[in-house]
Symmetry: C2
Subunit: 268 residues, 2 copies
């Protein structure tokens, strides 16, 4: 089983990714596709007159502030627009895709974070009404039932809290949690860069291999912005039994073929 | 098994409906909930600057003109916003709901209608670029797998064409097709009226019982607007083996209890 994370940021060639998913499923590979939604949520939020707000945490991470209205837009865009458009596209390619969010059958369950500690104008403050969360449990049974009956699950990065509230979750870490839960051999995280770079301004500075033991150090030394979460997801997945994680380029033709051929950053 | 259709029009008490679904599933009833989306699609369409357009067919039916942009909004609202909000609400009540659209696993499949013959300013014309459809096949296997493993499917009224295009379908007829396919004992169609009325202006003029043989005649004589489709759905379901169809009031407390106690129009 292979878990593929794709999307969320600009530049990914979703058509090429779907074409590869179709080719591999036709060769009897079992694939779970996890997508994103940040970029389109921003566009629709602007149109609906509720522009996105990004905040900086005390630890220096920039993240979306997900108030209730943002959560509703994020849900609509991610589980409705993007998820169903991927399902339609995959179906057209002969893949019997089933789109789910983490709410469905409590697929992705975890703790809601209801407040953020942020830094604004140099001052630390607490921002309440947040609806994001961190996945702690995965309903692998539902995914395995679907995979065993020939379906290809397509998952929107939303989870359900223990109090049954919808929460926004990070797509990379959702993919990591899913790959651990179903004991996937490989997790492929497709991005709009070729992998982890020594110098973010230089795409030729790719780090091709990272042993798991050195992954945390690489995270601290080289990863910036969203790449931090991808590496964090990779470490979590490997620690929980996934065989291999490949962070690879999602902007190219045949992105899954290339990733599996070792193009990208392979963490093992 | 019971199929419940609820929503699409104003006034339904979705909380009361979900509470009843929770009570019945806790008593081991297997329920499939089919919802609507018209009303909220109109609201979001207006906000996004693409107001809904309604047209009158040559046979006098008023329906939504679903161009590509409307379809995308309809998909986002129906499969994203409404479907996941129902799943969240049911999960909070202890129901292990799984939200799907007709695209997922080709759950609802049929023919796309790409053009409408309409009457405008007294003239008949053909309006192209329509994305609605009529369900001809139901993937009962996927629903039965979910029901047998303890999930409660919640279905958004979208279908997939034979060419794998998303199409907007009527929710009442989707519920009818599903109830036939899974051989449900009962189909309950909840509406914002008490059932089929002899006089639409008089809610006390309820027709309590209709034998199947007289249903077509009742449809022609009494049904107006959306009630026509409900009766049409009822007839289709009964002809394909569903035991009983109840068109009942969805604005009241305990709507499923009341419907099953015979309050509403029972067609048999």
């Amino acid at each position: 089983m292979i878990v593929v994370k794709a999307g969320g940021s600009a530049g990914l060639d979703m058509q090429a990714i779907c074409a590869d998913v179709a080719e591999f499923t036709q060769q009897d590979a079992r694939i779970v596709l996890v997508h994103g939604g940040s970029q389109e949520t921003n566009t629709i939020s602007e149109k609906l007159g509720h522009p996105p707000r990004f905040v900086t945490s005390v630890s220096g991470h920039v993240s979306r502030y997900t108030d209730r209205e943002t959560l509703e837009i994020y849900t609509m865009v991610t589980a409705g627009r993007i998820n169903k458009s991927l399902v339609e596209h995959l179906q057209r390619l002969g893949v019997n895709a089933v789109g789910l969010s983490g709410l469905d059958g409590r697929l992705l369950e975890g703790k809601r974070k209801a407040a953020l500690r942020i830094v604004e104008n140099g001052k630390t403050k607490v921002l309440r009404g947040e609806h994001s969360g961190r996945i702690e449990r995965v309903n692998a049974g539902l995914l395995l039932t679907l995979l065993q009956t020939g379906y290809t699950p397509v998952i929107a990065p939303l989870a359900i809290s223990y109090e049954s509230q919808t929460v926004n979750v990070d797509g990379d870490r959702a993919a990591a949690a899913i790959s651990s839960a179903i004991k996937a051999q490989i997790l492929i995280i497709l991005s709009n860069v070729p992998g982890l770079l020594q110098d973010v301004r230089d795409e030729t500075s790719l780090i091709a291999h990272i042993p798991l033991a050195q992954a945390q150090q690489h995270l601290e030394q080289y990863a910036q912005g969203r790449m931090k979460r991808k590496l964090l997801g990779a470490i979590e997945a490997l620690q929980q039994g996934v065989g291999k994680v490949i962070i690879a380029d999602g902007r190219v033709s045949q992105p899954l073929h290339r990733a599996l051929a070792g193009q990208g950053t392979v963490i093992q």
